[in-house]
Structures are given as C-alpha cells and as structure tokens.
Amino acid sequence: MYPLISSLFILPVVVSGLVLILPKLLSRILVISTAFILSTISLYLFISIDQPYHFSVPEHMNHLVADADIILLFFFGGIAIRRKNLLVGLMTILQLGILLYLLNNNPLDNSTQFIVDKLSLFMFVLINVISSIICVFSLKYIDEEECSSFRKKYFLSILFWFIAVMNLVVSSDNLEYFFLFFELTTLASFLLIGFRRDEISVKNALTALWMNQIGGLAILVAIFFISYNGYGDATFSNLLAHASASTILLPLALLSVAALIKGAQMPFSKWLLGAMVAPTPVSALLHSSTMVKISPFIILRLSPALKDTPVAWVIIALTGFVFAASAIGALSQDNFKKILAHSTIALLALMIMMGVVATPVTLIAALTLILFHGISKCMLFLNAGIMERVFHFKETSDMDRLGETGPFTSFVIRVGFMSLLLPPFGAFIGKWFSIETLGALAINQKILGALVIVMIAFGGAVLSLLYFKVLGLLIARTGDRDKIKFEKLSPFYANSILVLLGLIIAGVLGFPFLMTSYFAPVASQVLNLPIAITTQGWNMQIGSMILPIVPLFIAFLLLPVTIVLAMFIRFKNVDRAKEYACGEKVDYSFSALYFSTDKATQYFTLIGLLFFVALIVVGAL
C-alpha cells in the first residue's frame, strides 16, 4: 500500500512541475490522465485499506520538514515586507519564534509521522475526485483568462500542488508535519486568491493569509502545550490517547481554533468571502474539496477527545450561531458566488457541530454532509464560472432568463441547489439529525442547548428560504417559448459538469449502500466503536436514529424529481393566457426578495470574536 499512498503525494507534485514546461496539448492530456489516475487510486485505497496504516519516513525528512517550515516563514516574512502588511509580519514573527523554540527543545524524532485511516481515505476520495474534476474544468477556463501563457501554466501548477498538500494534510499524524502542510495550504490559497494581481485580489489574499496564519499559530501553541504537559510526541494519536487528562482541553481548544479559522467561521469568515475575486475554479476548489474541508477533518480527528467537554459546548454554541448568522447574511446578497459562499459557511458550521457532538449518528450525518456538500458546491461554483464566461453575468437577479437562454446550465444549477436542500441529500439529513440529536443533548445543557436548537431551527428555515429564492429565479420563464434546446458548451465544461451530475445521481440511488459501507465504517473507526446499521422493513436503524428509507425515497420522487420534471413537462390540449396584470400592458422587471440585514450583521463579528475568546478561556480553565 505504501507506494500507492505515496503516489498520491508525489504524483500531483510531479504533474505540477510538468505542466509548467509542457506545451498546451501535452499538458492537457497529462492533466486529464492524472485526474483519472488520482481518482482511481483514491477509490482503490478506500476499498483496500481497513485498519489504520501507520508509517514513518526516513530521518532526513525531519530536517527537510524543519527547513521547509523556516523557508516558508521567511517567504511569508518577505510578503509582509513587500506588501507592508503589519498583521502578516506579526503572525510570521510569532510563528517563527515558537517554531524555533520547539525545534530546539523537542526535535522531531523518528516516530510515526503519518497515519492513513478510514477518515484519511474518505478525505482522499473527496480531495482527489473532486479536485481532479476542477482541474479538468480549469484547462478551458484558464485558457480564456487574460494573462500571459506562463501564468496560465502556473495556475494549473498550483492547483495540482494544492491537491498534493491536501493529501498530506489529511494523512499526517505528527503535528509538526501537520503544521507545515497546514501552512502550505494557506500559501497555496494565498497564491490562488491573489492570482489576478489587481488591488482587491492582493488585499483579499493578504486577509486570507493572516487569518489562516492565526490558525497555524494556534497549532504551534498547541504543540508547545502538548510537550509542556508531557504527553510525549506531539501527534494526533498521542493526543487522543491522553483524552482523559485534565490539561488536554487547552491543546484541543487551540487545534479547534485552527479548524474553525480554516472553516471560515465568524469572525474569520472574511477570508472565504474575499476569496471569490480569484478565477472561479479557485472558489470551487476552496469551497468543495480542499481548504475549508480541513476544518471538519480536524474536528472529526479530535472528536473522540472533544466529545462532552466544555470546549465542545462552546464550539456547538459558536457553530449554531454561525449557522443562523451566515444564513441571515446571505439574505441580503445578490451576487451568486456570495450567496454560495455564505451557504458554505453555514453548512460548514453544521458539519463542525455534528463532528463535535460525536455520536455515531451525527458523525455519519457530518460525513454525508461533507461528501454531498463537496460535490454540490463544486458543481455550483463551476456553473458560476460558466455563467460568467458563457452568459456574462454574476448576479442572481439576472438569472431569471437563464431558464430560456441556457436551459442546461439552469437545470444543473437547480439540481445543485436541490441536492443541498431536499431529501434525501446532505443538508436535509444534517439539519434533521442535528435537531434530533441536540434535542437529546439539550437536557443536560438547559439554556445553551435550547438556544442552539433555536439557532438551528431558525437558520435552517432562513437557508431554505434562500435556496428557494434562487430556485424560483431559475425556474422562471415566460409562456411564449415551450421548446427547450440545450445550449452547447465546451467539452471541458460540459463533461466535468456531467461527471458531477452523475456523482450526485449515483449518490442518491446508492444512498442506503453508501450509509452502510462508506460512511458507517469511517464513523466507527473515528469513534473506535462498532456502529450497527440494521434494516427493519421500511426503516434503517443507525444507532438511536431511525431512517425511514421508503418515505425518504417517496419524498425524493415527490420533491427533487418533480421539480426537475416541472421544467420539461408540457401539457397538451390546454389554452394559454397571459399573466394577470389588472388589464394593464406594462413590462415588468422581476427581482428576487432581499432583506436588509445590516442592522443585525454588524454585531456578528463581535459575537463571533467573543465565542473564540470563550473557547480559549474554557480550554485554559
């Protein structure tokens, strides 16, 4: 297995180097074939590895990692000086100080640095399959970008490099290794967000840089406390082994801070919202399969230790707040990508919450949400790219004509939204499971528990309203044109979208199968306890939760399927009438519903910050 796993690390790096030098046609062939190879390897690994697989790398790699850390920090320092950014500089100096202290006092030894368990494998599949699709899409997209041909190659190169780093992040056990890869993802996102090199790109890239550097700093401080408390090597497995120690809360809280910042939870949501200035495939990559998914990954890794601690409750309260707050924030947006970004933050909050609650049911819900959110968000963002490039608009209020000018794009976007909202998909399951599990937990937490339930119920309603608003715009059409003619898209665009569409359909049809043989094994290995899934007649029993398969299937037929059908159905033998307008002949222009939420949103940053302070304080106590 070792060669296959390491090929996931090495192959993308090699490709990332090769695309820089190869001519266009060759690099296209290379990218597409690599996409296939990476996806196949990750899927094959998922089937073939059952037990956690530990391995270490030769000792000289330790020096390499230490050197790479220092070089990286000097690079960040260089950026700070060049851009005259105080915050980046401050973070870099702090990180460098702690890193040098750590390297002097407890040098990396030769213990296991890597662990590949079911959770890593699950992430491998997500990262490699989805990111590969994005890479293929980018071949065409970046070709139309106005920049030098070297910059185009450079863009593809960073994408592959990002995949490699992500694969490393989810398989590292040693926290100092983890820190390096964590910072490398920060670097990759910094380069991608600043790709267009205009003023706003640079500004937002720097914001993303310093915010994520806080996360890196939190990891370093966590490593310091782990060695200070004497748990031995700073590794995830060591941390989990000491889960019952009373001093464990502080490192856990710090690592959670790192996770929450990567997951763009308030008040650190600004970096993800600013990331959309980059070319659209970057948004797709950041939102679906890489970067923000590190956040639920860290939480899931730590979930057995986090469960039922005071830190967990602060995180649950925070994510409950973020879920409602970002849903409300999205109501005032018109830009399609901004709406998507807000809903990513809301759903990430839900994933993190599910991970922290850490019962078998919620972990399965979290994994379902991670996977389906990855596929759907990727598809939606890629379509946002198509909308910009092919139809030349970015705002949702322009989308009401898309049903007629671009029926295929409109159809796919609709499927994307429905696969987030409707049964039996991720967000529906996630919302449902979270309310029911928190209901049980609220009994011990009284006011806090009740408040979180209010947040979820309220945020969930707002989010449904938001999705239906966009769905409504997409389904709108006049009665004049009944024929539907799908527009022709470039094969790179069309095929990557079709693959994603296929994945969604396969996910729905194979839902019971995915439950038993995909999500459940991962969750059971994370929690280290067997999860029994039994099927009794109509119901599937997962832990304490009963999942009614047949009603869910009927709901699937009645809701998403009929909404799709509604677009294509044509009644015969009916007469047509114009819409009623009191007999007046006036041309109306239609827009969607907006709320001005500024009154509420101005406090959100502050509240979020208070939660972060509370998180550290609770951890330290």
């Binding site: 049964p423 409504g472 715009l473 389904i475 509604a566 819409e579 519903l593």
Partner: protein, 281 residues
C-alpha cells in the same frame, strides 16, 4: 386497528378536509349573521373547477400546483402514520415551498408578491413548529408522533405553553386574518393562487383542505391519548381561528414578522426551557 384508522384517514383526507372547509365557511358566515353556503359547497366548487376550460400560463407553473397537492398529502400521511415529527415539519415546509416556486415561475407581479409573502410566513412559523417538536421529544423521549399517543398524560397539561405557541402561529399557517398577508385578496389578489385556473386551481384549492387537516392534527396531538379532550381542543382551535379571522384586521408582513419574533418565538423558547426543567425534576 390503529393502522386501519390511519390509512382510512389518509385516504379520506381530502374529503374530510373539504367538509371542514365547508363547515368553516358556514361558521364564519353565522358569525357575520349570514346563512352561508351549503356544507358541500367546496366540493361543488371543485367540480365546477374541474369542468372548466383549461387555461394556463405555462405547464411548469400548472404542474407545480398539482405536485404541491400530492406532496402535502404525503406529508400528512407521514404525520397520520405516526412518523417522525421533525421530518413531517420539514416535508410540510418543502411542499409549501413548491407553491412558492410556482409563484416565482411566472412573470406575474401578484404571484411574485404572494410567493414572497408566503416565504416570509414560512419563516415565521416553521422554527416555532420545530421548537414545539423538540419540546415534545424531551417530554416523551421520541420524535415519533405515535409516542405521544402512548404517553401517560395529554400533552396539553405538560406543555401548555407549546399549545399557546401553536395557537399563535395557527392563523399564519392557515392564512387567516390578521396574518393573511400571503393571499390578501384586496392587496395581491390571492397571491400565488392567482395564476392558477380550472382543474389546476382545483388542486391548489384541495391542498388547502389538506392543510386544514394538517393543522388540526397538530392540535389534536395535544390531547392525543384522550380523544374527547383532543376533539375538544380541535373544536376550540377551530372556533378561535375563525373568530379571530372575523374580528381582526390584516397586519402588514413586517408586523407579522415582528409578532412572531417578539411573542411567538419567546413563548416557544420558554416552553422548551420549561420542558427541559420538567425533565430534570
């Protein structure tokens, strides 16, 4: 035996709902000292609609109206079969959302206004229904509605505030004055319903009957293990909603929204807290 009753109820739901709707019209008329239409008037209306020439704006719109009826029926079926309360509330939300989609799908101003207002009403009552559902769970230990029937006491005595919260949102749910902004005839000409006609309007019209049953089933749950109490509550809620409808003027959607945020939501929140405390005692 219970299963037979549930299935019978589900199959008969549109007919029972129609009767309730007809009865409601009589009661409202009597409150205004009118005689009112015959009891079977809703069915006569339906038959007439079915017989009319089919005129539609476009097929998408008309089709969504029909789907709205069936998905609402499905949500009701899950409720009557003793299914998961949260699932039922979600499905109900989604089936109403189909009507919103239908409203957005046309280029009609009144449909759009109505759809917007329906969306806001959903936002107003859905969180409260969920909070009531969670407090029921904390009391009975299960989200299944069937567990309420097996609980030793009627919910009304254990969760009086939940019942009050339900009464507060019932007019919003049923689009009754003072919270009938969603279909306010004088303002938006029936809102979403406007562009439907003929048999397609018949579907939307019959969906309203199903909604009546849905609402009163929720009310009945509060007296579930004592049928007389349950029916009494239903009768009370019925009279209350119609009396309120007859005696109050419409408020704007902002006022409605403020009302739920300031009154109904706190009531259901306090109810949730009380149910948690009750559980601990």
């Amino acid at each position: 035996m219970d299963l037979v009753i549930s299935i019978l109820l589900i199959v008969m739901a549109p007919i029972i709902g129609g009767l309730i709707y007809g009865f409601e019209r009589i009661i409202r008329a009597r409150m205004q000292r009118r005689i009112g239409p015959p009891l079977l008037q809703p069915f006569f209306d339906f038959l007439k609609l079915a017989d009319k020439r089919k005129i539609i704006v476009h097929s998408t719109h008309a089709f969504l109206g029909i789907v709205h009826f069936f998905s609402l029926w499905f949500a009701l079926a899950i409720l009557l079969l003793g299914g998961d309360l949260i699932l039922v509330i979600f499905l109900h939300l989604l089936s109403t959302a189909l009507l919103i989609l239908a409203g957005y799908s046309t280029r009609s101003i009144f449909s759009h206004l109505g759809a917007n207002r329906t969306a806001i009403s959903i936002l107003a009552y859905e969180p409260i229904l969920i909070l009531i559902g969670v407090s029921v769970f904390i009391l009975t230990g299960s989200f299944d509605t069937s567990s309420i029937f097996n609980y030793r006491e009627p919910l009304l005595f254990k969760l009086p505030l939940a019942f009050i919260a339900l009464l507060l949102i019932l007019p919003i749910k049923q689009k009754k004055s003072p919270f009938d902004v969603a279909e306010a005839h004088q303002e938006v000409v029936g809102g979403v319903e406007l562009e439907f006609s003929g048999i397609f309007y018949g579907a939307v019209y019959a969906a309203k009957w199903l909604d009546e049953i849905f609402c009163y089933s929720l009310v009945y749950l509060f007296g579930a293990n004592n049928p007389i109490l349950g029916l009494g509550l239903v009768l009370f809620a019925f009279l209350y909603v119609n009396a309120l409808d007859n005696s109050s003027a419409r408020v704007s959607y902002k006022q409605m929204w403020r009302f739920t945020l300031m009154v109904a939501l706190p009531v259901s929140f306090i109810n949730l807290l009380l149910s948690i405390l009750q559980h601990l005692l």
